[in-house]
Amino acid sequence: MNCKEVQAAMIEYLDGALHPPAAAQIKAHIDACSECRREAEELQVLLTAMKNNNQEMPSPALRENFNTMLQSELNMEAMANILQDRGIAEKPRARVVPLSKAAIAGRVAAAIILVAGGVAIGMAIRSAPDTGNTAEIAKLRTEVNKMEKEMKEKDMLSLIDDESASQRIKAVSYAEQMANPDQQVIDALFNSLNHDKNVNVRLAALYSLSRFADRRPVRDSLVSSLGIQTEPIIQVVLINLLAEKRETKAIAPIKEIIINKKTLKEVKDAAQKGLKEL
């Protein structure tokens, strides 16, 4: 074997990827040729260094940001579904629910901590539906639901001021699972919608609030919120939501958005369209 042939097979030789006879040939050459020996030794240093020095780890922020991004994508999808369903006989929730369940699945860890007991009992009940004692089961289920609700509210209100945006999104998204959130929860949601510095959190809060938009006080606060929002995506979603609900009080703030010079064209288009429906 000459130097050129040896060099061509050098990496595989150093990786131990050659068959023993071929490796033996190369070793024989290297033992005899000082230049190739030097090359082999130096390359070995580099290969080992590259193999061993691959410990760099991302900071926890990477996962956090990924979760936030994923949550915001889920919210956008859900929103898109709400908007898509407009006009289809006042039934926007039917298609939102499966998605929000997907969102919940994505937060398995939190959910496990949050309602571990409740879920376990709930599942046990559901997996044994034929035991006969339906009244007792119904009672148990009510208790479980109540427990879950209380835990969610408590958890939500404590998380909503968390430093991390993904925790806050989690908090405002809990509300969407509540059948009948109290005023404290609604206020917290509006506070997030109007004041959170992260647009994804605001969007998630709006998504949760849209579920309760049939309540008059919620509707009024949504109208007020429209007057202070500047983020295009929030503006569009709010306009669409209020137009869908035929909320005439929204006409004035929508008009203001249209005459505002700072408003994006896309938002103006959505505002014009919404206005026509009102």
Partner: protein, 180 residues
């Protein structure tokens, strides 16, 4: 329950089960972060690029076709594009990762406090290679991808990959041992 393959999970994501992406993130984010880190020698940028990459996975999930190869080669192809765009954005020619005016000392400064001397030197020298060479070394040595996989990612023959790896290593060796 046996774990689902990357490909099956990505198909679920494609069908709209976005939350499933968390599993793929768990499996790949460290390797991909390191891929970017060895190319950029910049932690913050590498985290951003990893984040961008997963964002693109969501955006372009419809383009995923399992018949056209593994999920791994699909996501690495996308990772290469993300890095390429980053180079363009930074107005760095793709042939040169670092600001040409930046000295080895400055590169070393960015890495100080974290790495051992040898690693430090290796990263310094790696950063001096043209991007194609740096990339092939990162893929084959740091990421431990097989030549066949790299061949699918870069869409060139295995034989050509072998030659590229050898040339890159030779160049690395020259730089590494020259100045010591």
């Amino acid at each position: 329950m046996p774990e689902l393959s990357d490909e099956k999970i990505m198909l679920l994501v494609k069908e709209g089960h976005l939350s499933e992406l968390t599993v793929l993130f768990d499996r790949y984010h460290v390797a991909l972060y390191r891929f970017f880190f060895h190319l950029t020698v910049d932690r913050a940028a590498s985290e951003d690029l990893t984040q961008n990459l997963f964002y693109r996975v969501i955006r372009y999930r419809q383009s995923y076709e399992p018949s056209q190869g593994s999920f791994r080669s699909w996501i690495y192809r996308m990772a290469r594009n993300v890095h390429f765009d980053f180079c363009k954005q930074e107005q760095k020619t793709p042939g040169r990762l670092t600001d040409p005016a930046e000295t080895e000392d400055q590169i070393a400064d960015r890495l100080t406090g974290y790495t051992e001397e040898q690693y430090l030197r290796l990263e310094e020298v790696l950063a001096r290679l043209p991007v194609e060479q740096r990339e092939i070394l990162v893929l084959s040595r740091y990421q431990g991808l097989k030549y066949e996989e790299i061949s699918r990612i870069k869409d060139i023959s295995v034989a050509a990959i072998k030659v590229q790896v050898y040339r890159a290593l030779k160049q690395l060796r020259t730089l590494y041992f020259k100045q010591q």
